[in-house]
Symmetry: C2
Subunit: 342 residues, 2 copies
DNA sequence: CATATTTACGCAAACCTTTGCGTTGTTTTT
DNA sequence: AAAAACAACGCAAAGGTTTGCGTAAATATG
């Protein structure tokens, strides 16, 4: 194993120039206490020798490593990847580094990651709680120990911790309204497990729209099982074989929506004329299916920006526990606009 | 701004127990030089006080922070996200942390990231070169300064630096063979800019298959412009209006493939009977389009595992400059199997 | 010219941990 | 019983940086 060579230190430069460590340190910080000529000599030599301050020594002294930890349920999903990208960029512009760790939706991983982050001495943590976690004591500990902590998307909301969420109820309300405006008479909702907040909220928006438009609410049209392509297919199949089948579907997810579309097509029904459909997805693929899928898209990159700003504010002493709601956008495409709309 | 409270140190524990720092340090490391009773006292108090060794002090001494830096052209793309995920997991199992930074395909960012990584004192760097970079001196500097460096997917290959790549030529060869076996007579290739290695390699595999199968090579059937949905659409439109149009298309990219499918459908031709098609994509969406798209899928997660292992070996002194080729998999679906296959 | 001020630096402590070596007091060996 | 061995611990240096304070020489002030 080749020897790892020691990096050049202040002392090296001081020795070579026959001066002291403190003079070199101050010169590189452009202190007025050092003469211009000395500063020149020091700076040029430092550049030549490729001097970089040892971050461990600096952090040992200052204890502000400018690193933030991100907990993400899953790196691979576009939604999260895009949020990370947003966090990353605003962190960088504030000269913070980020360190990303995926819980893979596991509670145990989540706890381990927090331990790791504390060991690394991150300055703060940006988290999205895993689907599995029902106990929030690990997060409460962070809060009680005054470790800067903010949430995004899936939050532990005790009213004290800042967070960024999307307007789930509003977006579902908006989407349902859109379906109604475009001629839908019986609208189904396909969602995920009922205990998940997002599901609750979106269902709430959906129901509210029905009420506001004087539609009858029919429990049979609300299917909440699991998020996934196959579930979407199965649910839709079942819905469309009801005595009074829906003529529109609001799917809480892209895989659900694509599964639903497949089921509709397999039943030889047309989209959107027989059944219109709206999904939730940020990915381009809603453009590639046929017909192009109308979808609620999230401003994920912006969510990343905002949640990072929240953390930086928190680090700088803002304990207001702000909650930021990022509005979604309804991207209307072909799948929701009935041509025979009266 | 609330005061950041100092973390508990060895000295705190030593003082509280009326012993010395070195005893505490050794006790926590389970040294045999410390009596069992003392070890017990120290360990329990340390646990109580939530003691964590200060990583900066440790690194200052040991100079091995166990952090590796990843340079990625783009976090949001599934391909890279999945590779990152693979890197992340093997890094973690070897108790390394990773820090990810996106170049956004920019040469300047790439150089800046390397500077940042060096400032943070990462132990090594895993990189995928941005599309923009044509000058590799920043990477050569790393190599010359003996900073552990490995590449994945898009590599700077001087034969000395370890890297992990996919078998581009082979996969294209395999895909083309598959099209031929399934009745294609005239196969087109749609790729990206010619100067990109991946394009060259895949085109090479495509051509090799044609030669090996005694097909005539027709330059008109090879379109290499830019990677993108619209380009795929336009190229296909043009190809299919040739006097002798292709009856099969190998598209180098998922967006290209989806664009091509749209063009085929818009021309009222059937997939795969009139025109069969194969794309390159790892995402589930190839299942959601109609017909389901046959595609070359990469073992991205595995690529991440392998490239991380290469770096760890490098860090541990293996300077063999190994090159690992990860085989792709042809996922045969509906779009490539002609029913009227003779 | 003598005193006061400024300029330009150096000294040393502090941040926290690891570890070689020295120092006790106790136990084993001959 | 004296010498040797050992067990259990403490001292202090090292790692690189920052910064308050001290100090010498140079300059300004009266």
């Amino acid at each position: 194993m080749t020897q790892k060579k020691r990096e050049v230190s202040l002392k090296d430069i001081a020795d070579e120039l026959g001066t002291s460590i403190s003079t070199v340190s101050r010169a590189l910080k452009n202190s007025t206490e050092i003469s211009e000529s000395m500063k020149d000599k020091i700076k040029t030599l430092a550049r030549e020798r490729n001097y970089r301050p040892n971050p461990f020594a600096v952090n040992l002294l200052k204890n502000s490593p400018r690193i933030i930890g991100i907990i993400v349920p899953d790196i691979v999903t576009h939604f999260f990847a895009s949020i990370i990208s947003g966090i990353n960029d605003t962190a960088r512009t504030n000269s913070y580094s980020v360190i990303i760790s995926s819980s893979n939706e596991s509670y145990d991983n989540e706890k381990r990651i927090i331990e790791d982050f504390l060991s690394i001495r991150v300055e703060g943590i940006i988290a999205c709680v895993s689907q599995q976690t029902k106990d929030f004591s690990h997060y409460e500990n962070l809060y009680n120990n005054n470790i800067p902590l903010v949430f995004y998307d899936r939050v532990f909301d005790n009213g004290l911790i800042p967070c960024v969420v999307s307007d789930n109820a509003d977006s579902a309300y908006m989407a349902t309204n859109h379906l109604i405006e475009n001629g839908a008479k019986r609208i189904a909702f396909i969602g995920g497990a009922n205990h998940i907040d997002i599901v609750k909220e979106r269902k709430h928006g959906y129901l509210q729209s029905l009420r506001d438009n004087n539609f009858k609410i029919e429990p049979k049209l609300v299917v909440c099982n699991h998020l996934g392509y196959n579930e979407g297919y199965a649910a839709t199949h079942k819905l469309l074989s009801l005595r009074q089948p829906p003529d529109a579907i609001l799917a809480m997810n892209d895989s659900l929506a694509f599964g639903a579309m497949k089921a509709i097509k397999d039943l030889r029904l047309s989209i959107p004329d027989d059944v219109s459909i709206i999904g939730y997805t940020d990915e381009q693929h809603s453009l590639y299916v046929e017909p192009a899928l109308t979808a609620v898209t999230h401003q994920t990159y912006k969510m990343g920006n905002e949640v990072c700003k929240l953390l930086l504010n928190y680090i700088n002493g803002d304990r207001s526990g702000k909650k930021i709601i990022i509005p979604s956008i309804l991207s209307v495409r072909d799948s929701s606009v009935k041509k025979n709309n009266i």
